[in-house]
């Protein structure tokens, strides 16, 4: 024991050093996707305003308040803008408790690239927080951090990551359909055993091996929202380097869980009940997070707190969550019903009704305007008699008289709409033409601040007045054009996936499906081996025909099938005959005429003659063969005429001998139908011909 204690004291010292190190964070200020196109064509996602504050400021505020002292901001898309923004912000002031380093590179294409760079530059010294630049949160991660460190101390380097989740059961507003995850975890150790996105699945499948971890209590949770905040050990960066195919965090988590036994790395989770944490991953989430912000769910981060410490942003908070920045003027008879935030120097006309809305700075809004769930950014001009429902209107947009925006419209930067036009639900308008080439965009962005320039440019292309109104400027983006650019995330569009409107109805259908399962399961006859074998033989022959496989190989394959399904030799032959005789029906459909049938069949017989010869050797085989032929033809009365041709053919191919055929013919047939078959005109002739041939051959001798 004494020795042990001595040993422990030394690492403890080392650990102490580790604990004393400042908490670091890696902030990824790029989404690496085009979900916010066309908005993010002009402004990176991290700088988009949410309740009049750039999203990255929320993330940095969260990091700072949770005790992070050093943050590395990685940017790629429009990195100069982000850099500029940060330099102006309070984070870069000398008094900031959180030192922000901006690292830019055009080469980052995914989270994986960023973390590989973290590893290559050896930026992190101990456990760090990994967040995206669009996370809004007030979670205090210190408890999770404590747990994480504890785990790392207990078992060195086993737990590499602690993911932070927020409770958000299905039906909750922040539960976004494309983050619809299901997590299986160990009930006691909070270890993640299974992590899956469930959006398109009807049934959730958990492999058995996750239950072999020695625990007797597991929890499957479908009520969690990934806050996209994770506490990572430096190993995470190393793992990304080792596994260069990991692109996203999803890849990483799944890869780690699948290879848990090999690599021995574990991921744990921390669920917060009270904290708020969400990633603005699409406009639906933007809508949700904005309204939560105004409803003060993210306290102490509230609009009037002015945490970003920007001049002129201090607003007043009054009843019904109405926030006003200085210089707001409200016309006579205008009502701000509830949950409204209005930016500085915005002028609102008379008789407007505004609810659940955020309006940026320096906007001008006319008379008789109705705004509900509208997100209006800066310097927007809205004329009289405009109606807006659940839409996003970006900077410098002009909405002319009498325009109606239905749900989920997006007017990107500098668009002009109207007058007197109604935009359909989900309309997306942008000054960028949807078909613009990517490199062309980039040139454009450099001089993007100049509105006049883009006006010049847009003159070259013609706006469709039916889309944007007679004086309108802008192009309509179709969701389909978005789809083309997204390879992995086809279904994802700017507003996020449509929430399942009625989960109940879908479960109803499943119930009926379930009961159907119940009913049909015992009833559905299981394919017996013979049937399966027949299908397999058919498949083999088909393939043989398609790929021109030699008969020897076909025989080999059929023989191996015979063993696989334990089929007797006699059955093999019967099935083979049946398959071959029915082959033309399978290929051409059951309706083909007799002539077509035989013209199809005869070449096949010729082709596969060696296969038959392999199975038809003894006289008894010949009888069996004929019996099964008879059986097949008895089922297809209309094709009796073909029987003669088949018999003729197999006789000529020397598969069957005349004695066998004669014996079969003379066999006392049991059923009336087979007697009828034997009285077939053609057959009689054939038999007669056979007899004559025999006699003549005998005569020759």
């Amino acid at each position: 024991m004494a020795g042990k204690a001595g040993k422990q004291s030394r690492p403890r010292k080392a650990e102490k050093d580790e604990e004393e190190q400042p908490l670091q964070a890696v902030l990824v200020a790029d989404s690496f996707n085009r979900r916010f196109f066309p908005i993010s064509k002009d402004q990176p996602r991290a700088l988009l305003p949410l309740a009049n504050v750039s999203m990255i400021d929320y993330t940095l505020e969260f990091l700072t308040s949770t005790g992070v002292q050093e943050t590395f901001v990685f940017c790629c898309w429009m990195s100069s803008k982000i850099k500029e923004h940060l330099q102006k912000s309070k984070w870069c002031r000398p008094t900031s408790p959180n030192v922000v380093h901006v690292i830019t590179s055009d080469l980052y294409r995914s989270l994986g690239d960023v973390l590989r760079d973290v590893d290559a530059k050896a930026l992190v010294r101990s456990d760090f927080l990994l967040v995206y630049g669009d996370v809004v949160s007030n979670i205090d991660v210190s408890q999770a951090l404590q747990e994480h460190k504890q785990r790392r101390k207990m078992e060195k380097n086993v737990s590499v990551m602690t993911m932070i989740f927020k409770e958000s059961p299905p039906g909750h507003k922040t539960r976004c359909e494309d983050d619809d995850i299901i997590v299986a975890m160990d009930g006691k150790s909070k270890r993640i055993l299974h992590y899956q996105r469930a959006q398109a699945l009807k049934k959730l499948h958990f492999p058995m091996n996750i239950f072999h971890s020695g625990s007797d209590e597991f929890e499957i949770r479908f009520d969690l929202l990934d806050c996209h905040i994770s506490i990572c050990s430096p190993q995470v960066a190393e793992l990304f380097t080792d596994n260069f195919d990991y692109q996203t965090k999803n890849d990483f988590v799944r890869g780690l869980l699948v290879n848990e036994e090999i690599l021995g790395n574990q991921i744990h989770m921390h669920v917060t009940r009270d904290g708020y944490g969400a990633r603005v991953s699409n406009l639906l989430m933007y809508d949700t997070v904005s309204s939560d912000m105004i409803r003060r769910w993210i306290y102490p981060i509230t609009p009037e707190a002015n945490f970003a410490d920007q001049e002129g942003q201090s607003c007043t908070h009054s009843r019904h969550n109405v926030y006003r920045e200085p210089g707001v003027s409200l016309g006579h008879g205008s009502q701000m019903e509830e949950n409204v935030l209005i930016g500085r120097n915005t002028v609102i006309g008379a008789n407007c009704t505004i609810s659940n809305t955020v309006i940026g700075a320096n906007c001008v809004i006319g008379d008789n305007v109705t705004l509900d769930r509208a997100y209006i950014w800066n310097r927007v001009h809205i004329a009289n008699d405009v109606k807006v429902k659940q839409s996003v209107i970006c900077d410098n947009v002009e909405v002319k008289h009498g325009v109606v925006l239905n749900e989920q419209c997006v007017l990107a930067y500098n668009v002009v709409v109207g007058p007197d036009i109604t935009l359909q639900e989900g309309t997306v308008l942008s000054m960028h033409h949807p078909d613009e080439e990517d490199d062309e965009d980039e040139d454009e962005f450099l001089s993007d601040d100049d509105v006049g320039y883009s006006k010049d440019k847009t003159k070259q292309k013609v706006f469709n007045p039916a889309e944007v109104g007679s004086e309108g400027k802008g192009y309509r983006w179709k969701s389909s054009s978005l789809d083309d650019t997204e390879e992995d995330e086809l279904a994802e569009c700017i507003w996020g996936l449509a929430l399942n409107p009625d989960p109940e109805s879908d479960s109803e259908s499943e119930v009926s499906e379930g009961s159907h399962d119940l009913g049909s399961h015992p009833a559905s006859p299981e394919l017996d081996d013979v049937k399966v074998f027949q299908n397999e033989v058919h498949g083999t022959l088909q393939r043989g025909l398609d790929e021109n496989i030699s008969c020897d190989n076909l025989v080999l394959e059929i023989n191996s099938l015979k063993y696989a399904y334990n089929i007797s030799l006699k059955e093999v032959m019967q099935i083979l005959i049946r398959v071959v005789l029915e082959f033309p029906f399978q290929q051409q459909g059951a309706q083909i005429s007799t002539a077509q049938y035989s013209s199809h069949l005869l070449p096949l017989l010729k082709k596969w003659a060696p296969v038959f010869k392999n199975y038809v050797k003894r006289p008894q085989d010949q009888m069996d063969c004929l019996a099964s032929m008879e059986e097949v033809f008895l089922e297809r009365e209309t094709h009796w005429a073909a029987l003669v041709k088949v018999l003729m053919s197999v006789y000529q191919l020397e598969i069957l001998e005349e004695e066998g055929i004669m014996r079969w013919f003379k066999q006392s047939s049991t059923t009336a139908k087979s007697q009828q078959l034997r009285r077939n005109q053609g057959l009689l002739k054939f038999i007669q011909w056979l007899e004559e041939a025999e006699e003549s051959s005998e005569g020759d001798e």
Binding site: L204, H205, F206, F218, I220, D223
Partner: protein, 441 residues
């Protein structure tokens, strides 16, 4: 009458054949009472006045003759006999008595020994208007060495996966590991309704169910479902029923609801294996206030009977015997200088002088010859362990020769002597303890 009680006492005890081949399971003595007494007592304690007992002819006869049962059990027993060979499952048995069932039922298995507060299960049933409510408890780890069992418990035993909702009451999922080879599959709609599901594995189904009458009717109409139809029903149905809506209708409008009461503490045994049988025998005496030594037993003053042992009626315990942590059944005769520790002696057993019996189970009417030394042995009903000579054959057949000094038999370690129809005497000699190793070559 709100609930009718149904006691299932027709099971053969297939997992402890050594004990049950000629004593039906319901009549196996546990703490000197037949096993069936325990569920009957459980029902009587909560005030049932009548119980339907489904059992075999043999048990019925015993029920009507056993004086002790008659005096102990005041309830009216409505005994329904079924054929022994019929191999009926719970569902079949319920179908059999469908005419008798007028209300919802409480089904109890005869091998259940528990001190559960039964109202917990019934309350769940009532409170949620449940289709089925059942009792589960933590699986016991049996620590005692079991006669005839090689080494420790067989590894890789199949676990039951039980899924409950966040309150731990609503049964959402139930399956055995064996049925889950390709992994656990859940419908998303269940997860949507119960976003948090706890999956527990270390649970024992106590086979105590409250069932709606409609379930019995369902069983009658669904003749196809066979043995474990009940459980299957629970599994299939519970999967698409639901609870706890945000705003929607209570139970999401689902009609079928299964609940489970999980005992966190207290005793719950299912006596369906030898290990459970031994364990139950050790624990059960602590439950009664009965005197450990039955008044009608004759115990010599010069013998030593530990307070942790019980002696059944009309036993004879002779001088210089020592009995510790053991149960001795009715009318057994223990002769002089016998040492019994950790053992179960059933009824009518005779143990001759000088025997040393440790950790063993000796079934009804067995006779242990003079000077036998047994450790972890199981002696079947009516077996005679002869003092000398004859048993040499037994040992030879097992491939061992014994060095016997002073004509004493050393049956060391775990031997099982059972008269089975299939083979007359079988001896399994399993792990050799270091102490006993010398006696075998």
């Amino acid at each position: 009458m709100e609930l009718q009680a149904v006691l299932m006492a027709a099971g053969g005890g297939s997992r402890m054949m050594d004990l049950t081949y000629n004593t039906p399971k319901p009549l196996l003595p546990v703490g000197n009472r037949p096993l069936i007494w325990y569920p009957l007592n459980l029902l009587e304690r909560v005030g049932f006045e009548e119980v339907i007992v489904i059992t075999t002819k043999e048990v019925q006869k015993a029920l009507s003759t056993d004086q002790r049962l008659k005096t102990d059990v005041k309830m009216r027993l409505d005994v329904v006999c079924i054929q022994e060979e019929a191999d009926m499952g719970t569902a079949d048995a319920l179908r059999h008595i469908q005419q008798k069932i007028k209300t919802d039922i409480l089904v109890v298995s005869c091998d259940l020994i528990t001190d559960v507060a039964l109202h917990e299960v019934v309350d769940l049933f009532r409170a949620h208007n449940a289709t089925l409510s059942m009792l589960m408890s933590k699986v016991h780890e049996f620590t005692e060495t079991v006669p005839g069992q090689k080494g420790k418990k067989k590894a890789g035993e199949q676990r039951d996966f039980v899924g409950v909702d966040v309150t731990g009451k609503r049964l959402l999922f139930m399956a055995n590991e064996a049925d889950l080879e390709e992994g656990l599959v859940l419908r998303k709609s269940i997860m949507r309704k119960h976003p948090r599901m706890l999956i527990k594995t270390g649970l024992l189904d106590a086979h105590l169910y409250c069932l709606k009458r409609s379930v019995v009717d369902f069983l009658v109409h669904n003749n196809t479902s066979k043995d474990e139809a009940l459980l299957q029903l629970a599994r299939e149905r519970s999967c698409w029923n639901d609870h706890r809506g945000d705003m929607s209708e209570a139970y999401h409008g689902g009609k079928l609801r299964c609940y489970v009461h999980i005992m966190e503490e207290g005793m719950c045994y299912r006596v369906n294996t030898l290990a459970a049988y031994i364990e139950a025998n050790r624990v059960v005496p602590k439950l009664f206030e009965d005197p450990p030594i039955h008044p009608s037993a004759v115990v010599s003053e010069r013998s030593l009977v530990g307070s942790d042992s019980i002696i059944g009626p009309s036993c004879q315990i002779s001088d210089k015997t020592s009995i510790k942590r053991s149960n001795v059944g009715t009318s057994s005769i223990i002769k002089e200088k016998v040492k019994i520790t950790n053992s179960i002696i059933m009824n009518g057993v005779t143990i001759e002088e000088g025997c040393n019996i440790q950790g063993s189970v000796i079934c009804n009417n067995a006779m242990i010859g003079r000077g036998a030394d047994m450790k972890y042995c199981l002696v079947g009903s009516g077996q005679r362990i002869e003092p000398e000579g004859e048993n040499a054959a037994v040992q030879r057949s097992a491939g061992y020769t014994t060095r016997t000094r002073t004509h004493t038999l050393h049956f060391c370690s775990s031997a099982v002597f059972v008269l089975n129809p299939a083979f007359c005497v079988c001896v399994y000699v399993c792990t050799l303890t270091p102490m006993s190793a010398f006696s075998f070559v």
